[in-house]
Amino acid sequence: MSDHDISVLLVEDNSGDARLIELMLHESAATQYKVTVAASLTEGKAVLESDGVDVVLLDLSLPDSHGLQTIDGMLDSGFYGPVIVLTGLADESVGLEAVAKGAQDYLVKGQVDGNLLDRVIRYAIERKHTEQSLRESEARFRSLTENSPAGIYIARDGVFMHVNPALARMFAYTQDEMIGKLVIDVVHPDDRGMVEENIRRRISGETDTVHYVLRGLRKDCSVFEAEVLGGTIIQEGKRTIVGTLLDITERKQVEEELQNERNLLRTVIDNIPDYIFVKDTQGKLILVNQAVANDVAAKNPDEVIGKSDFDFLPRELSEQYYTGEQELMRTGQPRINITEEIILAHNQTSRWVLSTKVPLQNNEGKTIGLVGINRDITEVKQAQELVARQYRDLKILNEVISLSSLTLDVMGVLDIVCFELAAALEARRVTAALKDEQQDVFRVALESDNPANPFRVGSLLMSMDDPAHAYLVSYSIPLIIDETNQDQYPQIELVRAEGVNTIMLVPLKIRGEIYSILCLEYDEPHQFTEAELNFAVSIVQAISPSVENSLLHQRLTEQNLHLNDLVAERTAQLERANDRLATILNNTSDAILLLGANNRIRNANRSFDELFGYDQDALFDQPFGVLVEEDERDKLLLALQTAHESQQPQRLGLPLLHKNGQAFEAEIAIASVSDNKGHVVVSIRDITHLKEVERIKDRFVSMVSHELRTPITSVLLGSDTLVKYYDRLSDEKKREKLAQISKQAENLADLVTAILDISRLDARQGSRSEELVDVAQALEEVRTNLSGQAQAKHHDLRVQVFNGNMQVLGEHADIVRIWNNLVNNASKYTDDGGTINIALYGGRTPSQADYRVPNLTDFAGNLPDDFASGKYVIGIVEDNGRGIPPEDLPELFTRFFRGGAAGTNIPGTGLGLSLVRELLQLYDGDIIVSTEFGVGTTFCFWLPAHRHKGDNP
């Protein structure tokens, strides 16, 4: 009970009574009371709503309520605390009734004192509190049982006193239907005895709890399995049983399925041929199947449990496995299908397995061991090895056949076989013996072995009457000679090499006769397998066609030698004929092409390549048309077509294209080849030179026309006038006309001289005079001759001669002609009053001063490399005349070319400069020009200075 004040509501209409009770409460020493007085039930209820009242003291006789109504009215208010009824002396029975209705206690007015009142109130509060707790506990229990999925029941005397909804649902009854029912009525008849016994044991006190499974019987008589946890309580002095019951039908089914699965798995594990085992983290076997047990010669799997690899396998192998498995469990990486060889310790047998090991983990992902599955693949492995061996044998066989078929040399074939047999059958050495026809014996002809183990090539192996030979002839299979049978073959023993223990002789037969014997030697006793014997036989059989072919070839070769000589002679003749034709084609100056179909180039001779600038065969299969400018192609195609159709040779002139894109004039002859393949032979001649000659001829004619016909016409007219009208002309006029005619005749004479000079030069055909000429002296002669003309035009003619070696090899007249033409030109093309500078340098190195007048630097870059070396005599003629237009420069030195001068009054032949250059070149010199149109022209020529004997080079 708390120590705070107890709040009392006193409902009492009699204020005297109320006062009295109030006093008693205040007098109480043990407890502090706080009293509120209400004079009516309504007033009292109002107080309850607002105040924290701990206890109500209630007078039943109130103005607004009376008797037991009052207690009802008070309890309806929802007040949970204790209500103590106050009654009059005469109403004591009413007090009892009030308690039955829910009041906590009652007091009879007048019999109450302070102590009693205090105790009653405090007890009432205490009791009410306990009552409250009980009620709440009851409510909790009820809620639990009502909502529990487990069935809960209370039974006494074999009858259900209480069942919860879950239990009723299990048995398909309502709760009401079950209460009062005999317990054993809802139990399967077979289980009733057991249930009764269990009840009895508890009732008798033998035990307090039981735990068992029973089969329940539902209202519809269906059966289910239930697990019961039963207990005992004492209720109303009697032992009463309580219990919970769970429907375990589903759980049973699941457990059964699990068990079935486990059995199935076990059956599978125990019956499959694979070795299945589970190991713990320490490598101890915790599960193995029957196969493992059989393998280690254990009666059953249980005998193996708890053991490890170390109990069954060689130590080294076990350690290796242990390490591997520890690693596997550590990393969690499974090993799948690893091929391993396992050797069992107990019988030393070996087997090949395909091993798979997977880490085993518990629900938490922790590795707790490993599961291993080994599949025995020993037979597969053996089969594979067999196949591999057969494959290898076949490969060798194939190799031997293909190699031996490639050679036509008997020894070559045998060499291949010896080599392959030695390698395949691991013989120390293989030798091949050939029949010696003269002596009827087999001699070793070649061997294939270790070079460190030399053998006696050519030694006698066996004779034809040897028993070994007889054996080989009879059986055609290899003969094996070792310690067991060597006595039968005494000859063989003789020839066997030191240390050889076993030999195999394999006959190579051609058309029933032994041609060769192959001998395989072994140092150790050697057992041949059937496969090895078969292999040796098949190899030797395989090559016999090659050997036979080789022998035939050998004979044929010999027979054909003579024939070959004849063929070679004939071939040489043909080649010589071909060579002659090729020589003609390649040495003719005309380009010759062979065209195939579609006019594509099939062949071209050397002249073609040279003429067109292509590499040999560069144009193979190109159309002929590529050599012709596009707009000329039609002409060419027409000619080709005509040649085809008419079978008559065609000729035409066309510009053709050089590889560098430049066109040149060509004369083309096309002839169709009558070979039904449409071949055409085209011969091409470069006629550029001919055209050039024609052009020069035209120029000559034109020049002669103008330079000869016009002056002659003039002379004819002038002289005619003089003759006809002599009397009518003044003397002055006569003189003028005569002078004019004389001058024209002179010009004509010059012209004729120039033409004669150039004709003479041509007639000399490059032969030159070798007399010593002084260039300075030649200049002096020219100067004298020309000074008159220079004076006439008021030219300032300056001559500077820089002394040195003026001697050149040549002809005096030619050197004079050179000077004359150059100076004459300068004079002709320079207006009146102009200046003509002539300079001559003897054979010495020009000094810096020499460059000043006239200016040699104009020619820098165009002069010979050793120009300044003093090896040349150099002449320069410079004028400030009209100059030469740039377009005339390229042909300035061409014969009969006059360029822009042709249209002028200045007489000329177009021969002067060409003659100058041709003469200079004849004597190993040359000439270059520097000019500016309208400003002047400078010619610079040079000739090699003659070196006297003893001159410094």
């Binding site: 034109s702 026309s705 103008h706 000869l708 016909r709 016009t710 002056p711 002659i712 016409t713 003039s714 004819l716 007219l717 002038g718 005619d720 006038t721 006809k724 009208y725 009518r728 006029k733 006309k737 004019q740 001058k743 024209q744 042709a902 249209g903 002028t904 009054n905």
Partner: protein, 120 residues
């Protein structure tokens, strides 16, 4: 009119024709001839012209004359050193009245000129 770039020939032509009684106008090339024609009040009765001349040659001169109504009827004789078929053909195309090849005998030349003048 005598059109000729060779001064000696032109001079000799003019001299002989003048001595015969012609009035002679000289020109040293085609352009000069056109200038002289422009300047003179009366066109010449006949023109004797070289072909190969600087500036405007004989062909170009004839072409221009034939295009000009005032001059197109003047008889026109070529006196040339060039005997190529091309030249002859071209002069015919331009309807030259004669094609005289150098060298020509003076009598033949005078005859050719007079025959053309008689025809007009």
């Amino acid at each position: 009119m005598v059109v000729e770039d060779n001064i000696d020939l032109r001079d000799n032509l003019a001299l002989q024709l003048e001595l015969i009684g012609y009035e002679v106008v000289q020109a040293e090339d085609g352009q000069h001839a056109l200038d002289v024609l422009e300047a003179s009040e009366q066109p010449p009765d006949i023109i004797l012209s070289d072909i190969a001349m600087p500036h405007i040659d004989g062909f170009q001169l004839l072409e221009q004359l034939r295009d000009n109504p005032a001059w197109q009827a003047i008889p026109f004789l070529f006196l040339t050193a060039y005997n190529s078929p091309d030249y002859v053909q071209h002069s015919e195309e331009l309807q030259a009245d004669g094609f005289i090849l150098k060298p020509v005998k003076p009598d033949d030349l005078i005859m050719a000129i007079e025959s053309k003048l008689d025809g007009t």
